[in-house]
Amino acid sequence: MFDRLTRRQTIAAFTLAATALTPLAARAEDTVKIGVILPMTGPSASTGREIEAAIKLFQAQKGDKAGGKKVEVIIKDDTGVADITKRLAQELVVNDHVAAIAGFGLTPLALAAAPIATQAKVPEIVMAAGTAIITEASPYIVRTSFTLPQNTMPIAQWALKNGVKKVVTLVSDYGPGIDAEKTFVETIKAGGGQVLDSLRAPLKNPEFAPFLQKAKDLKPDALFLFVPSGFGAALMKQVVERGFAADNIKVIATGDVTDDEQLNNMGDSVLGMITSHNYSADHDSPENKAYVAAFEKANPNMRPNFMSVGGYDGMALFYGALDKTKGDTDGTKLVDAMKGMAWTSPRGPISIDPATRDVVQNVYIRKVERKNGQLYNVEFETVPNVKDPFKAAKAGK
């Protein structure tokens, strides 16, 4: 019995060896691979699943051919841990010979992969992470999601226009949160407003009560909120519970808080809440209507959110770049092709800033309303072609 066991193991080992070696030999020249690294498990799993669904939808709609080649998508789960992201990125580049790496649910994950992109000269398409500095980490990083300063500035300007003088900010204590806080505070101060306090809650904190109480005790005109996708429902629950409306405190936020994916679960208490963001499932355009309908048909219990659209446009960018290079997968040529690309996305017109490789898009001011029995972020003001304010300020100096 022992002998048989070892023999079987030996055979298994050889088969493993054989399968490990075959991809190199059998690599077809007319296939282009893109490696997508997403958090499919762990606290940010919803981000990964939205993007995965959007990518599958894109390929189902637009086919798997671009620039005359077959595009193959490889999806990997990094569980949201940076050193795994880096290893997966490295393996995708070295073993699978991908033409681009994409995905990246959180800022540290996108940053961890940046040295690989630079070293291997492979484009890194950031589909989710939103800290402003990411695109500066490597000349091969191109972003199709959004940046926090980009989404935050319009709501700060809107608040100033609507008579808000004194504000308190409450953000999650990590890169994007601090970006949002900084942008909001600077914009308010520049507009003559006053910032009473800037509160930062730990990222993994189920209890917002003490922060909200403190904000309430300071009696501002408005409270500005930011938490990442997936945490909004828990926060809004406690916001409503604190009763800010009774004290005439406006609660405003970036659209991450009223995330389309969770909005319906938040209940009527968030009705009328004002946020600014780059995408709403309610965006009124034929492209978006088609997108939402197809997405919901393919994924019955999901609604597409801003993460999904980042993934969808990431694929559009990759296909577009391949078409431009006529199937040439040289990383530098691909990134050059991506620079300045412009197209109409479900979220509206977007383009890639050739100088910063960051996304330029409309940011919308929206209000939560009930439509056909469901809650939506309904857009009522458009700030067109917003560039990332951080990099714009740097370039201006």
Partner: protein, 336 residues
Amino acid sequence: MSTGRRTSQAMSWFANRARWRWPEIALWIAAYALVILFPSRALLFNEVAILALFAVSLDIVLGYAGIVSLGHGAFFGLGAYAAGLLAKAGAGVAPLSDPTLGLLFAALVCGFVGYITSFLVLRGADLTRLMVTLGVALIFAELANRMAWLTGGADGLQGVAPSKILGLFDFDLYGRNAYLYSLTVLFLLFVLARKIVQSPYGLSLRAIKGNALRARAIGIPVNRRLNAAYTLGAAYAGVAGALLAQTTSFVSLDVLEFHRSADVMLIVIFGGVGTLYGAIVGAAAYKAMYDILAAATPQYWQFWLGLALVLLVLFVRGGILGLVAEVRRRIAGHGK
């Protein structure tokens, strides 16, 4: 029976234990051969080697000194930040960014902190130790988060660029040198650990683990021995963390997260506590399982990992090595 003969019997028993057996030698040769057999998986092997060293470090603390620690990740993380910051300070130029210097620095820092905290940890029984180690680890994690000016906070430590290993070998994109580097460090430290646990000092640890009161009665300075073991374990964990920082040239807050401590504890129990090799086998099995399961069911692999743990506890004593021993015993039984 004379005392002399008994002593010589004991001596030969020790000598026998300390001898290298062929499966051990084969294991290490195989480990080095992996890089030639499966060059494309070198990055994964590198992670296994680092995890194995981390598990060996916990096995010293848990399996030999009998200190139940649910916060061993604190030293792993501290070592990663120590080596990362040193490499960053050197800006990729030797001598400051030299990886071996980084390892030494991490070991010293972690050994020092381990020594200080060992006095806290050694108070109280199993559950208290579990909690104190956990508490210390959580405080470390929060400190790293707060000290963003030093650690980069939640965005991670950028610009970690170790120079060539000993000025000769570069960390290549394929991860082959990284693996050989980590494996060599693992091998050297393993040989050292093996020597230590088989020395009179290691035996005194065994005596303490068996019965601390009796050990004290026969004149073993129990607390001093345990302090030393904890310090050694901390330094080893620090080196493992330093290897991770250097081979990924990146440090993020999750090196200090709770799941690191929990994972490594599972790995040690998985492989077999107090065997050193159990730690290595456990690390390899854990990573292999993760890799296969995560590829098969990216969303639900945790379920199967959990099931494996449950079944292992219910039906097997002593982890994977226990299972192997059991199978061998059965076969020997059948043969008769």
